[in-house]
């Protein structure tokens, strides 16, 4: 970009970097740039930076929701404390560890399913057929539906007495008695995954489709001439070429899945069998009014996601384009 600028702009001048930086226009532009960035940076500091620091701080206090100002510092007691011969705190709470496990289980299973089905749908949409645009628009519908609404719609379809899913499964003879999808502890996680997968396949499919459409045609023509089986072509040519886009989609989805809240809150509310870290933290914060303890849970969730982001930045540096 900058080389373009210096090549075609004699006024700004090619010379050295220092000379370029020194011009009046240049200085004016940099000053304006910071001026333009300030409102956005202030807004982000107000809604993200400062609240995050406060959450970190609250996690080291005994703050309660009604009185956050009067909190006293208690060190790491919310996380772990040895008292009277026993350990207490977040790290000893089995419910917390259940929610950590649930979060990872949910994330890995739903993202894997979304990627597999997303690729299939993308390949399908990439094929030539009549009404393709219409089908593509229809496939986007689940993505556009608010999470709360999709959770409610599925809750109705999964209703144990009157739900259409039980009705269909019984009509097909697959089950003898209606299943309590959202109440049964062994089924509810799968119900949640089912809804999440339904809602987010379009997102993955679209990203994969965009990558598919940028693939060079000659590879495929060559493969066809050589008579190579399409399945082999997919695994040897297509898959390696769309891997960068796939990686981006996976990380985006994974970060979303790790902080999942809405679907689960509506489908199964605070049930332990589907409780995730976000649900756990909010329950402590808002329902039990224990801001200190809840903030400790939030902080751990943040650290886990931060770790994932660091890995993402490391892996995805090439795609980001922030470093010239």
């Amino acid at each position: 970009m900058t080389t373009q600028a210096t090549d075609s702009a004699p006024r700004v001048g090619r010379p050295t970097r220092a000379g370029y930086r020194g011009t009046k226009v240049r200085r004016q532009r940099v000053r304006a740039a910071w001026l333009f960035l300030t409102p956005m940076l202030v807004a982000l500091a107000l809604v993200a930076g400062w609240p995050l620091l406060r959450t970190f701080y609250f996690s080291l206090t005994d703050a309660s929701l009604s009185d956050t100002a009067g909190a006293t510092f208690i060190g790491l007691e919310n996380y772990l404390v040895h008292d009277d011969g026993a350990w207490y705190g977040l790290l000893t709470d089995p419910v917390w560890w259940t929610s950590v496990w649930n979060t990872f289980f949910f994330s890995v299973v739903s993202v894997s399913l979304e990627v597999v089905f997303g690729i299939i749908v993308a390949l399908l949409l990439n094929a030539e057929f009549r009404g393709r645009m219409l089908v593509r628009a229809a496939v986007l519908i689940p993505w556009a539906i608010p999470t709360i609404v999709s959770a409610k719609m599925w809750a109705w379809m999964l209703n144990d007495q009157f739900g259409i899913l039980n009705h269909l499964l019984m009509a097909l003879g697959l089950i003898d008695a209606p299943l309590a999808w959202t109440a049964d502890a062994s089924l509810s996680m799968w119900a949640v995954i089912m809804v999440d997968v339904w809602k987010t396949i379009p997102f993955v499919a679209l990203l994969v489709l965009a990558a598919l459409q940028m693939l060079p045609r000659d590879c495929y023509e060559a493969a066809e001439v050589d008579g190579i089986h399409p399945v082999k072509v997919f695994f040897r040519v297509t898959l390696p070429l769309i891997t960068p886009a796939l990686l981006v989609a996976v990380i985006f989805r994974l970060l979303d899945a790790l902080r999942v809240f809405d679907v689960i809150y509506v489908l199964t509310s605070n049930s332990t069998s589907t409780m995730t870290m976000s649900i756990y933290a909010r329950q402590q914060l808002v329902e039990f009014q224990d801001v200190g303890y809840g903030s400790a849970a939030s902080t751990l969730l943040f650290l886990i996601i931060a770790l994932a982001v660091v890995i993402y930045l490391y892996l995805g540096r090439r795609q980001l384009g922030v470093d010239q």
Binding site: I148, A249, I305
Partner: protein, 280 residues
């Protein structure tokens, strides 16, 4: 030759069958919600695949409920304000990030990317305190403020990618004519950025319209709620007697505008989503 044609036909049939399966899978839940919402309450618990009669009773019921109408208005106000703020702050910031080379640009971009990946619950307690300090608790203002955490980073990111693609000559001509950066943005770039702004604005609108966690936590009374919260909190006599008819009617009501928007702006949305992720 005949066998070859047969295989080709079989492949074609298979493709269309698969497309039909995907279509039914994608559309059926919404279709079923529409059907349920148009049933009289007596037929609600009979499973039907088609509609035998039209009954708008459920819609009448939710629209005569003051709190639901109020929730729709709240959602519209909040979402539109969020879009306006995100675009205003986003367009200036993206000019700085997309067109000017300065020290610290990479850091700012990484910060924005980092914020866009924040788990909302991680800022919940801190943000709760900020909102209460600003006297915005149980007020759409608090939601407008808090929603910038996820709309702003995304808007800046996508607008920056679009801003970078604009030709350099335009800006040079403006600089030659002695235009200040502000004039360059408003007079030169803004007219060219409309498509990109429509895309990001639409995505920000959908995100704000659908948000749940903040809306649930930062509002208290029925008249301040947004629609997702209003729908989630519709309840009947007991936990097992949810009024499914009105719930589906409300769900369809808040979803139809989004589905229409998505159908109309399908290409734009796709380009916005992929610009944010693939090209980003």
């Amino acid at each position: 030759m005949n066998q070859y044609q047969l295989i080709k036909l079989a492949k074609r049939v298979g493709l269309y069958a698969l497309i039909a399966v995907v279509l039914v899978y994608a559309v059926f839940p919404f279709y079923y919600a529409v059907i349920t919402s148009l049933k009289p309450s007596g037929e609600l618990f009979r499973v039907d695949f088609w509609l035998s009669s039209l009954d708008f009773g459920n819609y009448a019921q939710i629209f005569t409920q003051k709190s639901f109408v109020r929730a729709i208005l709240n959602s519209i106000v909040v979402s539109l304000s969020v879009v306006a703020i995100a675009l205003l702050l986003g367009i200036t910031a993206s000019y700085a990030l997309g067109r000017v080379r300065f020290r610290g640009r990479t850091t700012v971009m990484l910060t924005i990317l980092g914020v866009s990946m924040f788990p909302q619950v991680a800022v919940l307690s801190g943000l709760f305190e900020v909102i209460r300090a600003l006297n915005l608790y149980n007020n759409p203002g608090g939601l407008i403020l808090s929603y910038t955490i996820f709309t702003l980073p995304f808007t800046v990111w996508v607008l920056t990618t679009f801003m970078r693609q604009l030709p350099m000559e335009l800006e040079e001509a403006a600089i030659m004519d002695g235009a200040t950066p502000w004039v360059t943005i408003t007079k030169v770039f803004l007219p060219l950025m409309w498509p990109a702004m429509a895309t990001t604005g639409l995505l920000a609108f959908i995100a704000a319209w659908n948000e749940f966690l903040f809306a649930l936590t930062f509002t208290l009374t029925d008249d301040q709620r947004t629609v997702p919260v209003a729908i989630a909190l519709i309840s009947g006599g007991s936990q097992h007697e949810l009024p499914w008819g009105p719930i589906m009617a409300a769900s369809v009501t808040v979803t139809v505008p989004l589905v229409v928007l998505v159908m109309i702006f399908q290409r734009r949305i796709v380009s916005g989503l992929t610009a944010g992720a693939v090209k980003g």
